[in-house]
Amino acid sequence: MQAVRKTFGSVVALNEVNLHINRNEIHGLLGGNGAGKTTLMNVLYGLYKPDSGQIRLDGQPVEIHSPRDAIRQGIGMVHQHFLQVDTYTVLENIVLGTAIKNRPTMQLAEAEQRVKALSDQFGLTVKPQAMLETLPMGARQRVEILKALYRGIKILILDEPTTNLTPQEVDSLFESLRVMVSQGMSVVFITHKLGEVMSACDRITVLREGQSVLTLDRAAASPESLVQAMVGDELDVADSLLFSTSKTVSDPPDRTQPPILAMDAVTVLGDNRQPLLEACSLAVYPNEIVGIAGVAGNGQRELAESILGLQAPSAGRISIAGTDVAQTPTVKLLEKLVSYIPEDRLQDGFLPSASVGQNLILGRHRQEPYSKNGFLNWPVINRAARRLIGEYKIRTLGPDDTGANLSGGNIQRVMIARAFSFPAQLVVAHNPTQGLDIPSIEFVFSKLLAHKAAGGATLLISENLEELLLLCDRIATLYRGRIAGILTRDEFDKYEIGRLMSGARIDS
């Protein structure tokens, strides 16, 4: 790929980017969020139309206008958020869009044989007739990879493939990738995690702010050189929290005081009376950050929402600083006790058609000084909004700007600004750094640590294990709605948490 340029409105997402991928290699594409990794690969896969630039395959220039073209050229992509039809079977998802024999009558027996052969060949076990919505994340990812292999591709692009995997599953994924490369394929591996690049890739290209900074062989790369390339001059790596090598970033809490958050044997039932959260007991003390690890969908959302009083537990009791959650409306809890950064900022936190100002007061809209006697005080709100926009570096035209004009990273800043705009005893932060570039992640970390230093309690729910290991005083792991184990800082071990995440302790 040569001199690829892509803009969204006035934002330059890719600026003259070059990328060269060899045969038989796993090529790491490293960079912080917003560096343009995914955008570049979406261009290669025909989902985005580049403004300028050229793509060459085996020396020949090719035109890729759509995924159909990309597939025809032997390029396949596994997106970070899997693109699957939940109501279809594994097999139907795989054959979708391919030229099936007997198109009018759709005989799938032959296709099924091929899928089975591929899954044996690369060690990707799936059940072809299983309905997709019943599958766990790891299996869904294998389906995505099989989808690409089934189309006979030569280049496989994987976008942040390890996000929802346990460390054990990550290892097995890397093994499958090795098999593919040994058989003549190339793999592009998009990630922002340094460790994965160092352990899995043959060559590495670093992107920063839409530009390719450097390309190195792994042998020639050191973690330090890659970090500096990722962050440029904007950040002093030596002082950085994110890349700190020291074991402690903050002081341990005093657990003899009464806890701020106390959950006692809390059970939350789903629509079908199945427990989504089962007998969870957890305490978070002042000055403490407790992490929640686990593969997405194991009760994290229910945990957060039950603390906010949004899901009523069928059993158990939750209190925040002595206030019983069950007895208190959510709006009241949000006033002084809890701040919340929701998991899915677009679905659960953001109002695209409302103004930035309206977005910033959500949850505080019945609270002085924003509101008095039921009437909103717009001059005060606009002043406060302008202050937050400046302090949290939200790129927008101002409080009256429409939310829809913001980019993903700026939307996340609105979430952060909203959560920290009023002091609260407890912060519940669910994936607070997703979609943020490296300096912003630093900023969020410093905010969380400042909250801790001020005596506040934090529940940090994250799919990013590194983040938890760095910041938390204790880590509890959720598996199928149960707390599979709680480790304190001196017991932290990635593979032990991985075992807890996959239910090894409970099941065996």
């Binding site: 709006v331 695209p352 009437f375 927008t396 300096p439």
Partner: protein, 352 residues
């Protein structure tokens, strides 16, 4: 990502004026283009285009009678539009303003007929209250179906319109029929139930003032209060609203009931102000025009009265055109639909 300085929101009279002008321009273009399109059609059919334009646009201002006619149209149009925009703020489409209006009219007529002997100070408030309550009931049914069964409100509000037609027929034919009328009509309500007149000739009733007050109250509610903010947030993203403690489903319910009340009041004012009785077919096409007004105003309750007044001018012009030039009044309806489309289109092209 480098930090950019955030410019302060523009202030000062001059920039404020420019902002408003920027917003009005697409409307102006939409109206002009719609008139050109329809002028071509009328011209091709052999009618006199300029006379048609003049009739549509200026009938309201040529005579005192025309202006009063326009104001009388304006009242139900304004309330119908608000009955659409309030639920729309919460993201719900109320297509049942017609049925809610008729229910309001039924309530007003029943109370006005049964208690015909009561004095003005008691009967008039009762009549209007009955219309609001009946309208609220007709809004509450789809609201409940939505709350309890998650049933699409577009569907239920429309189906209730059809039920209300039969109810009007039942009241006007079986219960309080006026034998002297050729068309299903009830006997008149008591004189105490009639809205006082502002001008006696041509008659202009005080429902106009009532409607304007209600519109002002609706604007304050949706734009200036915390409760109205919750309504808007619910419409913008119901899940986010729920996560931040707003009782979303209750607001859906409330928004549809408020819509029903507003539409019901429009029926009550028609009975107490204009007809003094319930007449089958009195709903005219206020529902559709109300929706068009609400959509042209893009749900902005400050803009609704102005758009409603403009549409009232077109409607009065349309009847005049049908009378004098024999061009079907539906022509103007097409103009209105085209204005709506062009206003919506201007948004799309502004974004590009």
């Amino acid at each position: 990502m480098a930090l950019e300085l955030t410019p302060d929101a523009p202030s000062g009279a001059a920039t404020r004026f420019k902002q408003i002008a920027d917003q009005l321009l697409p409307y102006l273009i939409a109206v002009v283009v719609a008139f050109i399109v329809i002028g071509l059609v009328i011209g091709l059919m052999g009618f006199d285009v300029l006379t048609a334009y003049r009739t549509i646009l200026f009938t309201s201002f040529k005579s005192k009678n025309g202006f009063v006619q326009t104001l009388l149209k304006f009242v139900p149009l304004l309330l119908q539009a608000l009955a659409f925009t309030v639920p729309l703020a919460a993201g719900k489409f109320n297509i049942g303003g017609e049925g809610q209006m008729l229910m309001g009219a039924i309530g007003a007529a029943i109370v006005g007929i049964i208690f015909a002997d009561l004095p003005l100070l008691i009967l008039l408030p009762l009549v209007l209250l009955a219309s609001v309550l009946f309208g609220a009931l007709w809004g509450a049914i789809p609201a409940w179906l939505l709350y309890q069964f998650n049933m699409n409100e577009i569907l239920t509000t429309v189906l209730l319109n059809f039920i209300s037609f039969s109810l009007v027929d039942y009241v006007a034919v079986e219960l309080f029929r006026d034998p002297a009328a050729g068309h299903p009509t009830t006997v008149p309500i008591g004189a105490g139930g009639e809205l006082p007149l502002l001008i006696s000739s041509p008659p202009l009733h005080s429902g106009l003032i009532l409607a304007i007050l209600v519109a002002a109250a609706v604007y304050i509610y949706t734009n200036k209060t915390s409760a109205g903010y919750e309504l808007v947030v619910t419409g913008a993203n119901p899940r986010a609203a729920g996560v931040f403690g707003i009782p979303v489903r209750r607001l859906f319910f409330a928004s549809l009931v408020i819509g029903g009340m507003l539409a019901g009041l429009s029926g009550g004012i028609e009975v107490a102000g204009s007809h003094h009785r319930l007449i089958e077919g009195m709903q005219s096409n206020y529902l559709l025009l109300g929706i068009i007004i609400g959509l042209i105003a893009k749900g902005n309750n400050l803009a609704v009265p102005f758009v409603a007044f403009f549409i009232a001018i077109l409607e009065v012009g349309a009847s005049a055109m049908q009378r004098t030039l024999l061009i079907p009044g539906e022509m103007v309806f097409i103009v209105e639909a085209l204005i709506l489309l062009f206003v919506l289109l201007s948004d799309v092209f502004k974004k590009r």
